[in-house]
Symmetry: C2
Subunit: 249 residues, 2 copies
DNA sequence: CGCTACTTTGATATTTTTCAATCTTGGTGG
DNA sequence: CCACCAAGATTGAAAAATATCAAAGTAGCG
C-alpha cells in the first residue's frame, strides 16, 4: 500500500492577502447553556493579528506525525486530511477537514497525525505559544475553541461508531451522510455531495479496502440510493432510505 | 441482546461529605506550550463550591441519551460507562470513565450517550448553566477543561483506530494496553490490569461479539501474553509482546 | 493521443458472526 | 455449610462478509 506525498513538509505556501476574510470557526452548541459561541468582531481581530494566512497547493504535506507542534491551523477554503500511517503499511484517516475546521492539536508538544491538503487550501496558521496567552486573557475566545473541540470529539465518537459497523454499504452510507451534514454549512443542495477525496482515502477513513468501498458504491447505486456523477460528485437519489441505512446500525 | 438496568435515572444517590477530596481532573499536555494545566488551590475551591459530591451504587443509570443535559460530572472514585443503544439492539460503549475523567458533554442541550455506573462511584456533579459563567471568568480553569477535552478527543481517535482492526486478538490487546495506560495514574503495578467491566461491555466497546472477546482472551492466554486471575484481573505476562501486538496494526 | 494513476470487477481465503449448548461463578436460602 | 440458581463466560460448528490477490477498465492530464 503506497501513500506517496508530492511535497514535503516544512515549506509553506506563499502568504495570501489577509483582507479576504477574517478567521472564523464553526461549532455546534456543546454545553447545555452555551449555544455555538460565534466569534465577536474583536475576537476575529485578535486572531487575525496572530494568524498568518496561507495558500497551499493540493497534496501538500503540512506536517508529519510526531513532529514538534508549532502551529494551530484553521481552514478557510479547501479540504485537508489528517491521518496516521500504521506499521502494517495501512493508513488510517482520522478526519477530513473543511472550511471552519481547526486542526493541529498536539500531545506532549508533538502532532499526533500527519496532515495533507487534498485540494488547494487557504488557511490561517496560528503560533501555539501565543495562543495559550490569548486563551488566558480572552476566556470568551477560548470558549469558542472549547466548543469546537468538543464538537470534534463528538464527531470522532460518531466515526468510531460508523467504523464499527460490519457491512460496507452501511459504513459508506454513514460516511456520506456525515460528510453531507458536515458540509451543509458550505453546500447548498443537500442532495449533492462533493467527494473531494479519493476512493482509497474513503477506504482509509472507513477502515475498508478500496475494493470494498468500490463494491459498496456499486451496491448503493444498484439500490438506487445514490448516483455517481463522475467520481467526485454523489447525487442522493433517495435521501430517506440513505439516511435510514446510515442509521440502521 | 438485553441490556437491563437495575435502577432508573433521575434519582441520585445520597450526598457524600465534601471533605474527602476536592475535585481534580487529569489531562495530558495538549498544546505545544501548555503542559497539563493542573488545578490551582483556588480553582479547586471554585469547583468545590459549585459541585455536589455524590455516592452512587453500581449499575445505576445516571442519565439517558437525548435527555436534557443539566450537569457535568467528574469522577472521584469508581468506574462509569458511556454508551449508546443502537436501533439494531446492539450497544456501543463510547468510553469507560475512571477517576479524574469528566463526562456529560452535550449537544443542543441534550446528552449524547447514556451513562451508567459499573462499580460504586463517587463523583462531583456540576450544574452546566453556572459552568459557562465560571469559564468566562476563570480562563485558567477553562484551560484545564480544554486540556481534558482535547485529551478525550485523542482517546476517541485512538479507539477508532483500535476498533478498525480486523483481528479480535489485536483489538483486545489494544484495549488492554489503553486501559492500563489510562489507569496508570491510579494503579501501581502496570502488569496488573483490573477489568471492572464485563466481557460483554468489552465486546460492546470493541465492536465485537462477546464470543469473539472470549476467544480472543483465550488466544492471548494461549500465547502467554496475559493470564486471567479470575475474570476481573488480567496479569500481563509478556509486556513487550503484548504492546507489540497492540501496536501491530 | 497516449500515458499513468485511479477505479472497477472477479475468484478465493480468512475471520468474525450466528446460533446453540455447556460450563463457571457468585449469590441465596434452606 | 452446602446445594441450587441464574447471570455471565466459554466452546463448537456453520454461515456470511470482507480481505486478498489478480486483471482489466476509465479518466484525467500533459
Amino acid at each position: 500500500m503506497e501513500h506517496a506525498v508530492s511535497q514535503k513538509a516544512g515549506v509553506f505556501g506563499y502568504a495570501a492577502p489577509a483582507s479576504e476574510s477574517a478567521p472564523s470557526i464553526h461549532a455546534r452548541p456543546y454545553l447545555g447553556a452555551i449555544d455555538g459561541p460565534a466569534l465577536t468582531g474583536a475576537q476575529r481581530e485578535t486572531l487575525t493579528q496572530l494568524a498568518a494566512r496561507l495558500r497551499l497547493p493540493p497534496r501538500m504535506l503540512l506536517y508529519e506525525e510526531q513532529s514538534p507542534a508549532r502551529w494551530l491551523f484553521m481552514i478557510s477554503q479547501g479540504a485537508v486530511k489528517a491521518f496516521q500511517d500504521l506499521p502494517s503499511g495501512k493508513r488510517r484517516i482520522a478526519a477530513f477537514l473543511f472550511p471552519g475546521d481547526i486542526f493541529g492539536l498536539a500531545e506532549h508538544g508533538r502532532y499526533l497525525n500527519s496532515t495533507q491538503t487534498i485540494t488547494p487550501v487557504t488557511l490561517y496558521r496560528i503560533p501555539l505559544d501565543t495562543l495559550t496567552d490569548v486563551f488566558t486573557h480572552d476566556a470568551a475566545l477560548q470558549l469558542a475553541f472549547l466548543g469546537k473541540v468538543t464538537h470534534e470529539l463528538r464527531e470522532a465518537q460518531r466515526r468510531a461508531i460508523a467504523v464499527s459497523r460490519r457491512d460496507a454499504a452501511g459504513r459508506l452510507a454513514m460516511f456520506l451522510v456525515m460528510l453531507r451534514d458536515h458540509l451543509r454549512r458550505v453546500e447548498v443542495d443537500p442532495d449533492e455531495i462533493p467527494l473531494v477525496m479519493s476512493r482509497s482515502d474513503i477506504a482509509d477513513f472507513l477502515a475498508l479496502t478500496l475494493e470494498a468501498v468500490s463494491r459498496a458504491s456499486t451496491e448503493l447505486e444498484r439500490r438506487r440510493l445514490i448516483h455517481f456523477e463522475g467520481r467526485h460528485l454523489v447525487r442522493v437519489l433517495d435521501r430517506r432510505r440513505l439516511e435510514k441505512l446510515a442509521a440502521s446500525l
